[in-house]
Amino acid sequence: MIPLPALTLPTAAFGLFGDAFNFVFDGREAETGGVTVGGTSQVLDLAAKQLEVTLLALAVAILLAMPVGLWLGHRQKGEFLAVSAGNAGRAIPELALIALMAAAIGVGLVNLVVALAILGIPPILTNTYVGISQVDRASVEAARGMGMTETAIVRKVELPLAVPTIMGGVRTAAINIIATATIAPLAGILTLGDFIIARNVYGDAGVLAGAILVALMALALEGTLAGIQWAMTSKGLKLKRS
């Protein structure tokens, strides 16, 4: 039913990788003729756009999902809602979401950010809820007994103890969002994914260059968030883990 692709020779593989490298650093004429494509300036433009929409959408998702997760987790309520949201979120086909958003509501930055934020909300909500609600109740009772207000309990006891789980959710959301930002050109915003999707313009070198750049960018974002998580985790928790 599904045809197997022909295997190309390894030498050809190096050739295309070299070609992709050239594409990133030197511009070239588009396959469709006329304009110059590729080169560092276009690469940086598209990379900046991809980072911009990713961070915007991640910020929106955090602002919407985290307070709800904190509140539900602190009150130990709404487990079904918080956990089902996470499960349902995974089932959303990214491509259909972006396509439908673009077709039904229109293309543009705001619509794209909303669609991407929708993908980021479920993991943040679920992980925040689970992280907060799994904090040892004895610690919370002790804090209450010491006279801490409920806000102080969330801020000084529950939140620090839940950092690893919450950040796990933020990292999952970030990966989903930056991956989906790659197909943002379908919604009229040109990101690095344009190199991948518009093969007729950029050619195979552009497609491969786009794939490499997107992969590096996702890994860099994940690495940065892992670093932030490490910096935010209290010393006591780090000792416990090692």
């Binding site: 599904i2 959303i92 086909p93 259909a96 679920t126 990966i175």
Partner: protein, 247 residues
């Protein structure tokens, strides 16, 4: 002779043309309202092949991902120092967006379903590896000690005690991996890998809303069904443990 063939082809083309105009669900494509039931009634059969392709993509990727990740997890269970590098390695594969992975493979496997399956498998590894590893780690030490105490060999302890106790977490990992893969496999269209994505991006056209909704809904329903089946399998295999792992 060739004239007859050409004539036949022309007739076929004409039939084809009529086939499409008759099946537009009464102007659904031209009107392009949010959802047009007439289109679905006229065209439900065009979704059969993409759905089957989608099933093949997901089934192959999850099966391959499970076999590899399970083997890695068992190996790392014996050689604990391998857990960190395995986790880091599968983490990198998980982080690289699938759509990018498809085209990183372009010089090696070209375009097609195999490329899509490899990329989706790479995505799955971390989810399954982490859940198998956590499941094995969460088996209480006194249980494995008791098993050793009654004379079980290390491999008997693994297969008869540790793995059955780790089963709920293994299944939870499989559920996460499967549901995510069903959604991600829509992107296989960009790698010429077929699947439901072909009904979302038809040529350069992504504006036919009813088509997007139908294909997207089939993917969501497929994810829910897979999830339900795995949940059921988990309950049948581990009836002593009803509580499923949450994250």
């Amino acid at each position: 002779m060739s004239g007859t063939i050409n004539h036949g082809l022309a007739q076929l083309a004409a039939v084809d043309q009529g086939f499409f105009t008759d099946r537009s669900g009464g102007g659904c494509i031209q009107d392009n309202k949010l959802f047009c039931p007439g289109w679905v009634a006229d065209n439900y059969d065009r979704y059969v092949h993409p759905t089957l392709q989608h099933l093949v993509l997901v089934g192959s990727a999850v099966a391959a991902g499970f076999l590899i990740a399970f083997a890695l997890a068992i190996f790392a269970h014996r050689h604990r120092w391998l857990q960190t590098p395995f986790l880091a390695g599968t983490g990198i594969l998980y982080t690289i967006p699938s759509i990018s992975f498809f085209f990183l493979l372009l010089p090696i496997t070209g375009r097609g379903a195999l490329t899509a399956i490899i990329a989706l498998t790479a995505f799955n590894l971390q989810i399954i590896f982490r859940n198998v590893t956590n499941g094995l780690r969460n088996v209480p030490a006194n249980v494995t000690e008791a098993a050793t105490g009654i004379g079980m060999t290390p491999s008997q302890v693994l297969w008869r005690v540790e793995l059955p106790l780790a089963l709920p977490e293994v299944i939870a990992g499989l559920r996460i991996a499967t549901v995510s893969t069903v959604a991600l496999a829509t992107l296989a269209v960009f790698a010429n890998g077929g699947g439901l994505g072909t009904e979302i991006v038809t040529g350069s056209n992504i504006t036919f809303k009813t088509g997007i909704i139908v294909a997207g809904s089939i993917a969501v329903i497929m994810a829910i069904l897979f999830d339900a089946v795995l949940l059921l399998i988990g309950k049948l295999l581990a009836p002593w443990k009803r509580k499923q792992a949450l994250v």
